[in-house]
Amino acid sequence: MNNRLYGNLIFELSQEGRSGYSLPKNQYGSYSVPAELRRKEDAALPECDEMTVVRHYTNLSADNFGVDNGFYPLGSCTMKYNPKINEEVAALPQFANLHPLQPAETTQGAEEVCRQLCKSLCELTGLYAFTLKPFAGAHGELTGLMVIKKYHENRGDEARRLVIVPDSAHGTNPASAAVCGLEIVEVKSLGDGTVDVEALKELLAQHGSEIAAMMMTNPNTLGLFEKQIPEIEKQVHAAGGLMYYDGANLNPMLGAARPGDMGFDVMHINLHKTFSTPHGGGGPGAGPVGVRKGLEGFFPEVSPYHGNFAVAMRAYAYILSLGRENIKLVGPLATLNANYIKESLKDVYELPIDGLCKHEFVFDGLKDKSTGVTTMDVAKRLLDYGYHAPTIYFPLLFHESLMIEPTENESKETIDGFIAVMRKIAQEAKENPDEVKSAPHLTPIGRVDDVLAAKHPIVTFRQLKNEIMKD
């Protein structure tokens, strides 16, 4: 039995009568909640002393892997360093204790942070105005599409319900469009992985008056710069559609090109990618939305206050720390790191599209397909060597996609170490494929049974207890 994994849910550590809190005594006299308003039974929450709680969560953290633990080449996620000064300023009580509805004259410092951040984002993207309200990338996407839909509705052009996305687009794009009451049409890519402009023209000829927008990342999900963007933008605008820039891949563009200059009208930024705020195991992030002049009146109410303000604080601290001199090196250094890895591994991993990439690139599994070792196996084996896995099986254009994104923060030694391990795994795949196929071996747990989890979902401790009782 592995005690770190069995019997150690916080509920299982609970003992009746223990407590991990202290509160002041009630000085108000006998005000008590009337019985008819009360719940019948107390919530079955754990009862633990403070140190038990602290040890429990400290030990849990040891079963995690973060950017601070090691190289995290997770494609399309921009796992850059999360500077510590950002954490410190975000926690300053002069900001953390502000109620969002406090009178404006008492929140001038916070207002200034938002104003300056928006101004910086405008400068870095070439757009006119930003809203900080969206809570995450997907929320930003939805907000941006709402702006676009409102813009068309406002012109009385309600027939525009189609959003063009490249076939390599992230799954969130179609889902955001659906939530926004829009529909997706896909445009095919060329053999080199970029948008087929001729196919786009045909699509526009066929559906021109129904097109609300075209949604793109640039560089695209393969890490390739869409060099036809001036022509694409011209065509879509000529058809009356707007251009939406999905900021997922903005990082390599810092210091190189601005979405506004590329002809985009609306975009979102993932502050947790490009602007170094921590991913926090899945959130909170922030997805500010920027627009070209004339669209700023269409920002919808997608959250009640100022978005994830404490995340915005971190992003602003990051921009200030780097300053104009260093921020323009972010894109080039990230791009250099990606190309260096690509060139160093393309003889053993299948590179479907050769040439310069931007911040990331995609391999289609191992070059030698005879070993039966899949992208999944390579990813799991990397865990044994102390690396986080790249993004796998995305984009869907290839069967064995392995998408690698190093950020500008990674040193040559780190990257060389990763390259050596990737080559070693390719060697192992030939010499000892079973070792790779059964990886990982050195992690706290092995590969998990997804089917069992989905077939009989146990998602709470109460369900688990009931299950145990049944047996």
Binding site: R39, L45, Q94, P174, A257, R258, L329, L333, L452
Partner: protein, 437 residues
Amino acid sequence: MFKYFPHTDADLQAMFRKVGIKSLDDLYAEVPGQIRFRGEYQLPGEMSEMEVRQLFDKLGAENKQLTCFAGAGVYDHYTPSAIPQLLSRSEFLTSYTPYQAEISQGTLHYIFEYQSMMAELTGMDISNASMYDGSTATAEAVMMAVAAGKKQNKVLVSETIDPKVLAVVKTYAHFHGIKIEMIPAKDGVTDLSTLNSQLSTDVAGVLVQQPNFYGIVEDYGGFADACHNQKALFIMNSVAADLAVLKTPGEWGADIAVGDGQSLGIPMQWGGPYVGYMCCTEKLIRKMPGRIVGMTQDNRGQRAFVLTLQAREQHIRRQKATSNICSNQSLMALWATVYMSLMGKQGLKEAAELSYAGAHYLCDELVKTGKFTLAYNQPFFNEFVVRYSGDVDALQKRLTENGIFGGIKLDADKLMFAVTEKRTKEEVDNLVKMAAL
């Protein structure tokens, strides 16, 4: 090089050689000249860490620290010091969504605990891994009800709901093609007979709030049955911490329980990040948006946690997805989880009871001044609305000048106050003194 960039000149040269370029500029050879950015960003120059720190101190000093007697969905509860300490652990802070279960058990494990605790607190069967905040969770619940109901597209919303939440719900509904119809309030509460007159076969869901926006604990007896008779889902929005004491959404017969978890010890931080929760009945599990963590086994026979039921999610369902959410508010869910672990069964209840006592004491004392009367003759929890016989704006100004955020103005003559366990009796007495002037 700058402190976040490790590249030495020698590194750059070696890497250039491998890539076959002569300069960083060559990496962008394919970018058309007319869109290549060659200027200088109009931004401040690099700042040292000390300068950054000083700047934020200066900006911080431009905010005014007030003793908070306001709520309206955001409450000034106490944060036990163990929480920020634990949350600052890099392994939690700097990891991504737990796709690689083998090296993400820490995150998956606490999300499972979070789900378990939220289900207990709300009295519901299951919970998802969390959502952005209370308002978006509520909007998602409305969309979920419509998706579950297939052909119905109207949702009834009580007028006693937080107007800020309502605004977000209306935004989502407008774009998603959902019809929102308000249920008029009577004396600050939702009326069952009015609801009954509005229910029809095209109603997919009914949304109410408990305690409602005015802090009133409403009687929702009969509401669930009324909804279910018309095949509509009953959705209840609640302040999470209050459920340690109050009759739960589960007990009221709700199908979906949603709300904000900020009250679980999360700082107000001017509006976010907070954490939205969503719980529902077991029957609806596959209709629920967002991430869900489930228990399973690994290939060594050990207990393990994993993201499950992913087929519902946007990256697989794409246009058919029930929602576009593709993350959760993981770290804030951890915040709430550690809070509930420390406070436990008793502490959460005690904090809620203290808040209740403080609010009732404040209300009584304000009424005693002769200048305030309770606006609604209804039971309330830790927040209440009073009518003020004087000038509300002048009163608020006076309170602010004296370092007090004295309630939220609802009307020309109405103010809403909230009290949490963090307020001392001295602070309450001081507020009363200032308000009586």
